[in-house]
């Protein structure tokens, strides 16, 4: 049966890691590249096969569980290393392996001149393993292994060029900030375990409605802690600051980890735990508000950034905010849908940006680009597709998912959030087209040196771009709005997973749980309550806002740049604020980093040196004294040892005789 072959999906990249470690130095660059890409490609095929097997099953019990072995068993607590494929994880697995494969192929071309080619693919494959473990795990603990694994790989890859101090710093920052989130995540997990009694998804979710009171303190705390973990991994307020710095890593890494896959892990977790979140309306509300705030906030920062990758990074933060927004208002499917389409076009944007940077001999400043459309036709074309897609112009992918999110927000009655999302969409269109215009249109501002080497990227880099461009166009067509009346395949596919809590509820659910059912049902299916006319209006609004943003971008940066300059001068304080990202990094530095640093200094000088070291040294001195005596037995002569051994045997026999 296919069900037994799930483990092979994460195992393939791991095997590639092992092979790379063992014989990588004999394979050469070409061989290493083939190995890495082949493993991920195969993993994709296996995932595809598993998904087909899943699709062949009846809709209501689409779930494949593959238990590899029992990891640990303590009393009646047992954790299996076991993988689970359901519609939700199938979407994730396909996105991870599919986009991952394309980015691997791209990387072969991108990294070809790098000295640490082999190390790069080692990390990249290790990341694929961890990510697939995260996505396919069927319990929290195994998922946490993947969760930490992707964190580690992210750290390693951000600091890939560790000889650059800024890269090493960025890696450290990402790791530390993530740790804060991980800490929350771990706490949330322990909360769930101590109250829910299991870490297995199925068992825990089945038990949840009975165990946790609706809106109770426990479930709210637990879900908020989980969400803290998600904000860390998915770069939401307040833990988003690491992601823009993470752009120090190689561009394919930014595309794979910091745009398409790892940063969506938080979204995945919240979606996976939707049962729990639906039991905690306060948490859900928090998710929505944080998501909306992040979406708007990061978008505004994106306007003023000049580094092409940083613009994209803030855009990623913003888009992740949209996903959380969707989850928060109960439109889980919309969130996952956006996750998928975003993976396509954001990976494409990053890879395109990488192609531009590659062509310009590692120039990342938008002010030193311009007029690249002719020199880089393929890059330009695909980038344009991605930009339109993210701006939300039909019929490209971004439109469908973003519209569904806004629709979900509106339908659930969260008008404020809807408004924030709408404004954010406009700003998104604006800054994305600002990026596009600055890079590809207008007069060339390229330095002479870079212009000299200007070249279109090799085919191995262009091909993934093309594939992703196609996906960015057609990717959204699986989930058209209800008013189009053609049926929503994506919705149907995920429906069994996102059944409202009622379906999970146990018979003796308390009255609170009954309320939860009603609410959950309302949240999950509120989308259908909006009349068609309103829905058309909503679509029009979002497209209109996007078009306005695009128009402004063209006007300000292409046709009459003088307006942009005068605006910048008139609103200098605002521009400075945006350019410096609201001084959030500086704020964190003053509020968090410095006090902790000072405290640590104090602890080190006083507590560590005196107390800890004193204890350790004291223990060591004690044992040194004791062992000076014992050492007399340690003569180094085999005969002596044998003698004591025989003495022991004699004593043992004496014991037998006496008993």
């Amino acid at each position: 049966m296919e069900s037994t072959t799930l483990w092979i999906i994460p195992a393939l990249p791991l095997a590639a890691v092992a092979l790379n470690l063992m014989i990588g130095d004999r394979l050469g660059r070409r061989g290493t590249g083939w190995l890495a890409c082949g493993a991920v490609g195969l993993a994709f095929l296996f995932a595809l096969r598993a998904v087909f097997a899943l699709a062949a099953m009846p809709a209501d019990d689409r779930q494949i569980v593959d238990t590899v072995y029992t990891w640990m068993r303590v009393g009646d607590f047992s954790i299996d290393v076991s993988f689970m494929l359901d519609p939700l994880s199938s979407v994730m697995a396909l996105v991870v392996t599919g986009v991952g494969f394309l980015i691997h192929v791209y990387s072969v071309g991108y990294m070809v001149h790098d000295g640490s080619f082999r190390r790069f693919f080692l990390y990249l494959n290790l990341f694929m393993f961890a990510m697939l473990t995260l996505v396919l795990a069927d319990n929290f603990l195994l998922m946490f292994v993947g969760w930490e694994g992707v964190g580690l790989c992210s750290y390693l890859l951000i600091g890939f060029w560790y000889e650059r101090p800024s890269a090493a710093e960025a890696g450290k920052k990402a790791f530390v900030v993530n740790r804060i989130g991980d800490f929350g995540f771990l706490l949330g997990m322990l909360f769930l375990f101590s109250y829910g009694g299991s870490l297995n998804y199925e068992r825990l979710f089945a038990a949840a409605p009975a165990v946790f009171a609706l809106g109770g303190v426990v479930i709210t705390t637990a879900t908020l802690l989980l969400f803290l973990g998600a904000t860390g991994k998915s770069a939401q307020i307040p833990l988003y600051t690491w992601l823009p710095d993470a752009m120090e890593g190689p561009t394919p890494v930014s595309a794979l980890i910091h745009a398409a896959t790892m940063v969506t892990a938080g979204v995945y977790v919240v979606a996976r735990c939707h049962v729990l979140f639906e039991l905690a309306p306060l948490s859900l509300q928090t998710v929505a508000v944080i998501g909306a705030a992040t979406a708007l906030f990061a978008a505004t920062i994106g306007i003023a950034q000049n580094d092409i990758k940083r613009v994209l990074a803030y855009s990623t933060v913003s888009q992740l905010g949209y996903m959380f927004m969707a989850l928060g208002v109960g439109a889980f499917t919309a969130g996952i849908f956006h996750l998928m389409t975003h993976a396509f076009f954001k990976a494409l944007l990053f890879l395109g940006a990488g192609s531009v940077i590659h062509a310009l001999s590692d120039e990342q400043d938008l002010r030193k680009m311009g007029g690249l459309a002719k020199a880089l036709p393929w890059t330009h074309g695909t980038m344009l597709v991605a930009t339109i897609a993210i701006a939300g112009i039909p019929p490209l992918a971004g439109f469908f998912s973003k519209d569904e999110i806004l629709h979900g927000a509106f339908a659930s009655g969260n008008y404020g959030i809807w408004a924030a999302g709408l404004i954010g969409a406009g700003i998104t269109a604006f800054y994305m087209f600002r990026l596009y215009v600055l890079a590809f249109r207008g007069p060339s501002r390229i330095s002479e040196h870079a212009a000299h080497h200007l070249h279109e990227s090799p085919r191995s880099m262009i091909a993934p771009l093309a594939v992703l461009a196609v996906l960015s166009i057609v990717g959204g067509w699986v989930g058209p709005p209800a008013v189009f009346g053609v049926g929503n395949a994506f919705h149907d596919w995920l429906a069994p997973v996102f059944q409202p809590v009622a379906a999970h509820g146990v018979a003796d659910a308390a009255h609170g749980a009954a309320d939860a059912m009603a609410q959950g049902a309302a949240a999950g299916h509120a989308a259908h309550a909006v009349p068609p006319a309103t829905e058309w209006l909503l679509i029009l609004a979002s497209v209109g806002v996007a078009a306005l943003g695009i128009f402004l971008a063209f006007r300000l940066y292409l046709t009459s740049p003088s307006i942009a300059t005068s605006l910048r001068e008139r609103w200098a304080w605002l521009h400075r604020t945006l350019l410096h990202k609201y001084w959030i990094d500086e704020l964190y530095d003053v509020v968090v980093v410095r006090p902790i640093h000072a405290l640590s200094q104090g602890l080190w000088k006083v507590f560590d040196v005196k107390v800890v070291d004193g204890t350790v040294n004291g223990v060591a001195f004690t044992f040194e004294g004791l062992s000076a005596v014992l050492r007399l037995f340690q003569t180094g002569f085999v005969g002596t040892y044998a003698f004591f051994l025989a003495l022991g045997v004699a004593a043992l026999l004496l014991h037998f005789l006496r008993s």
Binding site: Q634, T635, G636, F637
Partner: protein, 100 residues
């Protein structure tokens, strides 16, 4: 039919002889031989109990012991030869490298 006690007595005797050999001799080769003697004493017990309990497994274990003994002797002798090359001696009380 040989009484179990007889075999055990012989085995105990052989084992003690081997043990004393390990304790009193300085020549690594003779110590090694004494260890072989002890192993054989153990083998005898296995066979004796196997016969006593009418079970073939005692003999299977002896088979394993012999295989391990062969491996052990090969490695041990190689070490002794190397020791001799380095130190010109096979007397264990002239070698105390085990002292940490």
């Amino acid at each position: 039919m040989i009484p179990l006690t007889w075999s055990l007595a012989v085995s105990a005797g052989l084992f003690t002889i081997g043990l004393v050999g390990v304790l009193v001799r300085r020549n690594a080769l003779v110590i090694f031989m004494s260890i072989e003697l002890m192993l054989n004493a153990a083998n005898l017990v296995f066979v004796a109990f196997g016969q006593h309990m009418n079970d073939i497994e005692g003999q299977v274990v002896v088979f394993f012991v012999m295989a391990v003994a062969a491996a052990e002797v090969a490695v041990g002798l190689a070490i002794i030869v190397n020791l001799f090359r380095l130190r010109e001696t096979v007397f264990v009380d002239e070698v105390n490298l085990l002292k940490g």
